[in-house]
């Protein structure tokens, strides 16, 4: 059988592309993701010119425009563990509220993209509409729509007035109806086009294990928030949402269900915000060279930061493991034997983030 190679330009063309080999019937026989175009040399930047913690967190936030808070959260937690800092409960709650709002806006962005790939216009527009509401929440809470600037070592940068918290709670309560309509629109318009498509279920023999929603859609019960709780998840104990089948529909369904799960977590936090400070009184000086590491559940899965500090409390080294590389192998497997016309919707359903994958040092 003759095969030929085709390139599939993905998303914004310059970010990454997928090289496919297809047979004479246009079935995919091989897939390889090509990326690495957006590496901005953050590791050296942060361990050199921007080794100061306040400067570093500003740059680290800019690893990614979708899940920036997950990066500053992992980084702050890692530094705080290195220096032995316990963040006040109110700061932990505020961090977690922003993290869950960020997860929701990231999921809606992917739901919009996947819906768009299969021509589900009502679902796409509703996903964008939900996202618009979420960015309003983030704007009210942090002053920013993207790159919230909320995390700092030892706590958060801003407090929230009770009036703002109440308004936020109301806005999120009103969102319930819109999220339900998004779920129905997905059932009606998108489900048929993505159910059973692009299956990937990691097995014991596979070297790549799933993480985040892509893993949970394949029956892998994995969630850093529950496995090694940090911040307010220590007392929140979220429910791990798992689906089976590992197809594009299962991945979308996990994200749809997590929209509701995250919303409920934020409402719980807002209704019972701990009182007190939002920042530790003093950042203790480093006791000699020290290092810390922290893993958080980013919208796409486990995101680990490891940081080494000098005795002056400056960054000596930083390594970051983002979730996307753990999904790339799965995507390449999920594409095999699928008709080429399904390729884009499968790629969309995996919700890759190349600015994280490339940008992390």
């Amino acid at each position: 059988m003759t095969t030929r190679e085709v390139y599939m330009q993905c998303e914004i063309p310059e970010v990454y592309r997928v090289a496919l080999t297809v047979d004479s019937e246009d079935l995919i026989t091989g897939a390889k993701l090509e990326g690495g175009f957006a590496s901005r040399g953050l590791g050296r930047l942060v361990a050199g010119r921007h080794a100061d913690l306040e400067m570093a967190i500003f740059v680290i936030e800019r690893i990614c425009g979708i899940c920036s808070h997950a990066h500053t959260m992992a980084f702050s937690e890692a530094v705080e563990r290195a220096l032995g800092i316990d963040v006040p409960p109110r700061a932990a709650a505020l961090r977690t509220i922003v993290a869950e709002l960020e997860r929701m806006q990231s999921h809606t962005l992917n739901l919009a993209e996947t819906a768009d790939e299969v021509g589900a216009r009502r679902a796409r527009d509703l996903a964008w509409a939900v996202r618009a509401e979420l960015t309003k929440c983030l704007l009210e809470l942090t002053g920013n729509r993207i790159h919230y600037g909320m995390n700092r070592i030892g706590g958060v940068t801003q407090d929230v007035f009770q009036k703002t918290a109440d308004a936020l709670g109301e806005r999120l309560s009103d969102l319930r109806d819109m999220v339900d309509r998004l779920g129905t629109a997905y059932e009606d318009e998108a489900r048929r086009a993505i159910e059973g498509v692009g299956r990937w279920e990691p097995t014991d023999s596979e070297d790549v294990w799933g993480t985040g929603p892509n893993g949970r859609a394949a029956g892998v019960e994995t969630d850093v928030r529950v496995e090694t709780p940090y911040s307010a998840y220590r007392w929140l104990r979220p429910v791990v949402i798992v689906e089976h089948g590992g197809c594009a529909w299962a991945r979308s369904l996990v994200r749809l269900r997590e929209l509701r799960g995250s919303r409920d977590l934020v409402l719980r936090l807002l209704s019972d915000l701990p009182s007190g400070d939002i920042q530790v009184e003093e950042i203790p000086a480093a006791v000699g060279e020290c290092h810390g590491e922290a893993t958080v559940e980013a919208p796409r899965g486990a995101n680990r930061h490891r940081v080494g500090l000098t005795s002056e409390g400056r960054i000596e080294r930083l390594s970051i493991e983002v979730p996307t590389p753990r999904s790339i192998g799965g995507l390449e497997r999920a594409l095999i034997s699928e008709p080429r016309r399904h390729a884009m919707r499968i790629v969309a359903s995996f919700d890759l983030c190349m600015s994280c994958a490339d940008g992390a040092p």
Partner: protein, 129 residues
């Protein structure tokens, strides 16, 4: 306006922030659309700091010198937060004589600011109503 304003978007190595706000701006404004070929475009929109890989793949010189340009966010203009990195390269794009260039600031710029820039260029180039 008689027809849509067509944008060719090039990501030189961004964090996705500007790119998402651009999508949000497009969503709010049906009279602006994205095209995949610069030859069909009315203007170019650049996001991100230029990485060496993209500098090798994207030939900015090859674009029509009269094509208007929007530099979105500080990265596209001055490499922004990544400026001292050896992997964020400066480029001279937009400094040519006769080219209309609009820089939009904010990290990332708000969708309203992006639309204002697009309309500003449309006005200067005389496409608008």
């Amino acid at each position: 306006m008689s027809r849509a304003i067509r944008l060719r978007h090039l990501n030189l190595g961004s964090c996705n922030g500007c790119d998402i706000e651009l999508l949000e701006a497009l969503r709010q404004s049906p009279e602006v659309e994205l095209v995949s070929d610069a030859k069909e475009a009315d203007l170019l929109v650049l996001t991100g700091a230029m990485t060496p890989e993209n500098a090798a793949r994207i030939d900015l010189e090859s674009f029509d010198p009269s094509l208007a340009v929007i530099l979105l966010g500080p990265c596209a203009t001055t490499q922004g937060a990544f400026s001292p990195s050896s992997r964020a390269l400066p480029h001279n794009f937009g400094s040519e004589e006769g080219r209309t260039v609009v820089s939009v600031y904010g990290c990332p710029p708000r969708p309203e600011a992006i639309l204002a820039a697009v309309r500003e260029v449309a006005g200067r180039e005389g496409w608008g109503s």
